[in-house]
C-alpha cells in the first residue's frame, strides 16, 4: 500500500478550465504593443522611468479584460486563452519578419490575425533605433558583437531581444500591506529626499513612477471588480453568481489592501504575477516560496472553519491553471531552444526557514498535489531538500516524479546555502533562498540575479584550438599555435584555457552592454517597488536598486570537453597512436561519417549556393549529387575515411569517460568545469555586483550542438552536446549511483548560478512504496555528496508504446532488462511487450 499525504480530490472545474485553455492555438494580440507606442509618443519629454510608469498606466487603463468561464482567480493578459502580448520597446524586427510563418512553424506556433499584423506594422516604425536591443548593440565592443552574432561563441540573445525577468519579488509584503502600503512607503521615501541630495532627481523620478505604477494596478483590479459585478448581475446560476460576487469583492479589496482570507491572498498573488509579465517581457518570473507566504492565510481560514482543505486545493489548482494562461512569443530560433511555450515560473516548496528549521507545511504538500491535478508545464515546481526534510514530503514528490512530467526538480539546501553565502548573502537570506527559472538560486525580494545571462558553449573554444583561433575564415580568437606543433598535453590544455578565457571576456562585455541598455531604456518601476532596497535607494532594479546584484551566464559541454581532453591525453600524448594534426583532420571530416538530417539539407544548400555563385546553373542532379556526398562522406579518400573512423573507434572504446565513477576522469571533469566557473567569477557588472557561473544548458545543448562541428570526444558534428553537468548521452554505463558519484565530484558550490543533473528512469524503479522510498534515498545520497540539483525523466508506458511504433525516433532509449541495460528498439518484440507490461504492473 502506498500511504501518501494530502491526496485530495480534484474538482471538476479544473479539467474544464484546462480544456478551455487548450481549445485553440494561442494567439498574438496587439493591444499592449499599440498602447505602449501611443503612450511613448506622448511622453517624449519625460525622463525614462516616468515614461515607463506612464506607459504601464496607459496599458492597464485600456487593455481589454476578460473573466473566463468558471474561473475563481481572474486576470488575463489577453482575451484569447494562452495568448500573448508584444513588447516593441525591447525588439520587434524579428516578429515582423516572421508574421507570415509564426502560425505554421513546428515549435510553439502562434496564430496572428491580419488585423493584428496591420496594426503592429503601423506601430513598429516608431521604434526604429529606440529599443533596448538597438542600444545594447551600440553599447557592445565590435568583437564581442561579432563573436555573439556572427560566430555563435556565446548567446546572450534572451536579454538582447527581451526583458530580463528572472526575479522573485516580495509577494509576502504585497499580501500583507497591499499596494496602498507600498505607495505609503514610497511617499515616506520621497519625504526623505533632500533638495541638496546629489541623486535628488533620480530618486524623485523613480519614487513618483512607483506611485503611478501602483495606482495603475489598483485601478486595473477595480476594472475586474466591476466586470465581475456586471457578470454576476446577468448570471442565472446561483452558485456561479455567488462566485462572481466573491470575485468582485476580492478585486475591490486586493491587491490594494492587505488580503483578509485565503481566496483574497490567491487573487492578490495572481495580480502580482500577471502584471509583472505585462510590464516587461522577461520570463522566469518566479513565485518562489509560495507555500511559505501563502500559509498564514490558509491557516487562518482553516482554523476558523471558513474553508476546507479541498476548497483551498481548488483555489491552488486554479492558480496552477492561470500560470499556463500567460504566454510569450519568441523568434523561431529561440522557440526551438525553449520549445513548449516555456515561461519558467518556478515555484518552490519545503526547505529551511531563516532560523534553519524545517519550514514544510500543509501547503507544501498541496502544491505538489496541484501539480498532479494540473499536469501542465507551469509552474516549474521545485522542492528544497535538506537533512531535516520530512520523508513524507519527499515521498509525495517522488509520486509526482513518477507521473513522468519531469516535475518536480529537487534542490539541496545543504549545498546551495553555503554556495550563495560565499557570494555575500547573509545566513538568514541564504536560508530563505528560492529558485528562479530553471535552476538559479537567489534570495527573493532582494536580488537582481540576471540569471540565465547567456549560454556559453564550452565546445566552441575547443574547436578554436584546432583552428588556431579562426572561424569562418576570420581570426576571432587568440593565436594559440598550430596543434601540429604542440609537444605536451599541458600545451594543448593551456591553449584551450586561453581561447576560453578570451571569449569569456567578450561575453562579459556583451552582457554588460545589454545590462546598461536595460538600465537606460527599460527601468521597471512596478517590478522594482517589490524588491529591496529599490525604494530606499530611490532607483530601479535595472539601475542597481537591489541589495544583491549578479550576472549569471551558464556554461555547458563539460562532459564532451572532459572526454575529449582525456582522449587527447591518452591517444596523442601517452599511447601516441594518433597525432593532433590527424585528429584535426578527422574532426574536419566528421570522423569519416556523413552528415544527416536537417544539417545535411542546410550544408547541401550552402554548397549549392556557393556553386551557383560561381556561375554554374543548378540542376536537380547537382543538388542530389551534393546531398549524397554530404550524407555519405563519399568524396573522402577511402583510406583516410577508414582511418578517421578508426580514430573515433579508439576514442569511443578505449578512453575513459566522465560519469562512470572513475576517480581520475571525474576529477579531471572538475578541473574542466573550473576553467569556466573560476574564470567567470573574476568579473563585475554595472549594477555593482559580480558575475557568477551556472552550469546548465536549459535545452540549448540541442540547437547549439547543431552549430558545433565534431568534437574530440567522438561526438559527431551537429549532434547534441551533453545535457547539464551529467555524462554525455549514452556514455554512462554504470547506472544512476555511479553517475551521481561522478557528478558530485564537480565543485558545484562555485557554480552558484545553478547546476543541472537530469536522470532518466524506468517507472518500475518507482513502483510501490518501496520504489518511492528507494528513489528518495537515491536523491538524499546524491545530496549527501554535495550535489545541488536533480531532476528526472521517467519513461512512461506511452513512450515505450510509441517507441515500438516509431523505433527511428527512439534509437537511444535505454531500458533495464535482466541484469543489463539495452537499447529498447533492439529487443525482440515479445521482450519489448514484457517490459511494457512490467512498466504498468510495477514488478
Amino acid at each position: 500500500m502506498e500511504n501518501i499525504k494530502f491526496v485530495l480530490e480534484k474538482s471538476a472545474r479544473i479539467d474544464k478550465l484546462i480544456d478551455d485553455l487548450y481549445a485553440k492555438m494561442p494567439e498574438i494580440e496587439s493591444a499592449r504593443g499599440l498602447l505602449v507606442t501611443e503612450s511613448y509618443k506622448s511622453t517624449e519629454d519625460l525622463p525614462i522611468v516616468k515614461r515607463r510608469s506612464a506607459a504601464f498606466s496607459h496599458i492597464l487603463e485600456n487593455i481589454p479584460i476578460v473573466i473566463r468561464d468558471g474561473e475563481l482567480i481572474v486576470g488575463s493578459a489577453t482575451v484569447a486563452p494562452r495568448g500573448c502580448q508584444v513588447f516593441p520597446e525591447y525588439s520587434y524586427e524579428w516578429l515582423e519578419a516572421e508574421f507570415d510563418t509564426v502560425a505554421t512553424r513546428t515549435a510553439d506556433p502562434f496564430f496572428i490575425s491580419e488585423k493584428t499584423k496591420a496594426e503592429l506594422r503601423e506601430a513598429y516604425p516608431y521604434w526604429k533605433g529606440k529599443t533596448t536591443s538597438d542600444l545594447a548593440k551600440s553599447n557592445m565592443a565590435p568583437e564581442a558583437y561579432e563573436a555573439f552574432v556572427t560566430h555563435g561563441m556565446f548567446t546572450p540573445g534572451n536579454y538582447f531581444y527581451n526583458g530580463i525577468g528572472h526575479v522573485n519579488v516580495n509577494y509576502e509584503k504585497v499580501l500583507k500591506i497591499g499596494y496602498r502600503g507600498i505607495i505609503t512607503e514610497a511617499k515616506e521615501a520621497l519625504k526623505k529626499v533632500d533638495v541638496s541630495d546629489a541623486d535628488y532627481v533620480q530618486r524623485i523620478n523613480f519614487l513618483t513612477a512607483v506611485i503611478e505604477s501602483c495606482e495603475a494596478v489598483v485601478r486595473y483590479a477595480r476594472r475586474y471588480s466591476a466586470l465581475a459585478k456586471e457578470l454576476a448581475k446577468k448570471e442565472k446560476c446561483a452558485i456561479r453568481r455567488a462566485e462572481l460576487e466573491k470575485i468582485a469583492s476580492n478585486c475591490a479589496r486586493v491587491p490594494e489592501f492587505p488580503a483578509t482570507d485565503f481566496h483574497e491572498a490567491c487573487q492578490s498573488f495572481w495580480f502580482i504575477q500577471l502584471l509583472l509579465q505585462v510590464e516587461s517581457s522577461g520570463h522566469s518570473i518566479s513565485p518562489g516560496r509560495f507555500d511559505q507566504y501563502m500559509y498564514p492565510y490558509y491557516k487562518k481560514d482553516i482554523d476558523a472553519g471558513k474553508i476546507t482543505a479541498e476548497q483551498a486545493q481548488e483555489l491552488i489548482d486554479c492558480i496552477w491553471v492561470k500560470l499556463n494562461d500567460i504566454n510569450k512569443v519568441r523568434d523561431a530560433v529561440s522557440a526551438d531552444g525553449f520549445a513548449g511555450y516555456g515561461m519558467f515560473q518556478n515555484l518552490i516548496v519545503g526547505g529551511q526557514n531563516i532560523y534553519g528549521m524545517d519550514a514544510t507545511n500543509d501547503l507544501s504538500y498541496m502544491c505538489l498535489e496541484a501539480s498532479m491535478h494540473v499536469p501542465l508545464p507551469q509552474p516549474s515546481i521545485s522542492i528544497r531538500v535538506w537533512n531535516g526534510s520530512p520523508q513524507s514530503l519527499l515521498v509525495k514528490a517522488a509520486a509526482l516524479t513518477r507521473l513522468g512530467t519531469g516535475l518536480p526538480a529537487y534542490y539541496n539546501d545543504e549545498i546551495i546555502i553555503p554556495s550563495i553565502m560565499a557570494r555575500g548573502l547573509t545566513l538568514e537570506d541564504a536560508r530563505d533562498y528560492c529558485i528562479i527559472g530553471c535552476v538559479e538560486p537567489q534570495k527573493g525580494g532582494k536580488t537582481d540575479g540576471w540569471h540565465d545571462a547567456a549560454f556559453f558553449n564550452m565546445c566552441r573554444p575547443m574547436e578554436l584550438v584546432f583552428s588556431n583561433g579562426m572561424d569562418k575564415g576570420v581570426q576571432i580568437g587568440p593565436e594559440t599555435g598550430d596543434v601540429a606543433n604542440m609537444q605536451t598535453f599541458e600545451q594543448f590544455y593551456d591553449a584551450y584555457k586561453t581561447q576560453q578565457s578570451y571569449f569569456i571576456k567578450l561575453l562579459v562585455n556583451a552582457n554588460n552592454a545589454i545590462d546598461m541598455a536595460h538600465a537606460t531604456r527599460c527601468p521597471l518601476p512596478f517590478q522594482s517597488c517589490m524588491v529591496d532596497d529599490c525604494i530606499g535607494r530611490g532607483k530601479s532594479l535595472q539601475e542597481g536598486g537591489a541589495i544583491y546584484n549578479f550576472t549569471g551566464p551558464q556554461g555547458f559541454g563539460i562532459a564532451n570537453n572532459t572526454d575529449g581532453l582525456l582522449a587527447i591525453k591518452k591517444l596523442v600524448f601517452e599511447d601516441k597512436t594518433i597525432t593532433l594534426s590527424e585528429l584535426r583532420d578527422a574532426l574536419n571530416a566528421n570522423f569519416g561519417y556523413g552528415i544527416t538530417g536537417d544539417h545535411a539539407v542546410r550544408i547541401t544548400s550552402e554548397i549549392v549556393k556557393e556553386v551557383a555563385n560561381n556561375g554554374i546553373s543548378i540542376t536537380e542532379d547537382i543538388i542530389r549529387s551534393v546531398y549524397e556526398k554530404v550524407t555519405t562522406a563519399s568524396t573522402l579518400d577511402p583510406v583516410k575515411k577508414a582511418r578517421y573512423q578508426e580514430i573515433k573507434r579508439l576514442i569511443d572504446e578505449t578512453c575513459p569517460k566522465y560519469g562512470n565513477d572513475i576517480y581520475e576522469a571525474d576529477m579531471f571533469a572538475r578541473d574542466v568545469a573550473n576553467t569556466y566557473t573560476k574564470e567567470v567569477e573574476k568579473y563585475k557588472n554595472p549594477r555593482g555586483g559580480v558575475f557568477q557561473a551556472g552550469l546548465y544548458p536549459v535545452s540549448a545543448n540541442v540547437p547549439l550542438g547543431g552549430q558545433t562541428g565534431a568534437t574530440p570526444d567522438g561526438r559527431l558534428a551537429f549532434t547534441p552536446i551533453a545535457d547539464g553537468i551529467g555524462p554525455a548521452s549514452g556514455r554512462d554505463k554504470k547506472g544512476p549511483t555511479a553517475t551521481a558519484n561522478s557528478v558530485a565530484k564537480l565543485e558545484q558550490v562555485v557554480a552558484s548560478n545553478g547546476t543541472l543533473l537530469n536522470q532518466k528512469f524506468h517507472p518500475s524503479a518507482l513502483s510501490g512504496m518501496n520504489g518511492l522510498t528507494k528513489f528518495v534515498a537515491l536523491i538524499r545520497s546524491y545530496f549527501d555528496q554535495k550535489g545541488m540539483h536533480m531532476q528526472f525523466n521517467v519513461v512512461t508506458r506511452e513512450t515505450l508504446l510509441d517507441a515500438q511504433k516509431n523505433p527511428e525516433k527512439y534509437k537511444t532509449l535505454v531500458v533495464r532488462v535482466a541484469g543489463y541495460s539495452a537499447l529498447f528498439t533492439t529487443l525482440s518484440r515479445s521482450l519489448q511487450d514484457d517490459i511494457i507490461n512490467r512498466t504498468e504492473q510495477g514488478f
Binding site: D661, K734, G735, P736, T737, A738, N741, A765, G771, T773, K774, A777, L778, R780, S781, D784, Q785, V817, A818, G819, Y820, A822, L823, T826, L827, S828, S830, L831, D834, I835, N837, R838, Q841, G842, F843
Partner: protein, 261 residues
Amino acid sequence: MSIYDTKGRIFNIQRFSIHDGPGIRTIVFFKGCYMRCAWCCNPESQSYDIQTMIENGKKKTVGYDVTVSEIMPELLADENFYRRSGGGITLSGGEFLAQHEFARDLLIACKENGLHTAVESTANAPYEKIQEVLPYIDLFLMDIKHMDSQKHARFTGVGNDIILQNAKRIANSGTELIIRTPVVPGVNDTAQEIREIAKFAASLPGVEQLHLLPYHRLGQDKYSGLNREYSLSGIEPPEKEKMEYLLSVAEESGIKCQIGG
C-alpha cells in the same frame, strides 16, 4: 594469506539494484551453478567456464577472475546509497555456494566495512559449506521452486531433498530467511503447488515472508546469444490477476506474502 587475496570467478557487478533485497544494493553475480532451471534469466551464469556471448549484436566475454581486494572498491562506491536506503551487498549468481570460500571471505570483507549482506541462493549444497558463510550473512533469500522432488528435477536438473533440508537448518540457525518462488506457468503455477510451498515456508521457524516472483522472459535473448535453445519459448508471463489469485492462496498459510522481490 589475507582474506582480501582470495580469488573467485564472477561475471558482473551490478549497482543500483532495487529488486533484490532491502534498499539500494550492489549485486555480485557469481559464475557457476549446480542447477539448470529452464526459466533461468541468467543462463550465462550456469557454467563455471569463461564464455563468449552475443549481446546487442556484439561479442562479450562472460566471466572474469577477481580477488576480494580487487572488487571491494566498487562494492564500497555506493556506501552513501546503502546507508540512506538500508541497502548493501547481495551475492547472486549462479550459485554463490559453488564458490563458498571466496564468498565467505568476500562477506567477511563486507562486514569489516560495515555493509549489510544478503545472498540469493538455491541452498543446494552440503550444509557444511552453508555453515561456513552463514555467520556473515544478514539476509538469506532462498528459492524454493517446487515441493515435488521429481518435478523439481525435471525442470532444474536436481531433486529438492537437500534444498528442503537446508531450508530447515538455515531457519533454525536464526539467520533472517525469506523464501522466494519463481512462478512459472506449467511448472508450479497451480493453486495446489503454490499452497504446498507456502505451507512449507510457514512451517519454517522464524520465516516471515514468502515472495512470489512472476516468471519473465527478460533473459530469453541471452539464450540465443549463447547459442542455446530456450526451452520455455512460447510461455507467456502470468497475468496480474493470476498472480493475485496465487497470492491469496499462499496467504492462507498464514505467512506474509508479496508479489515481487
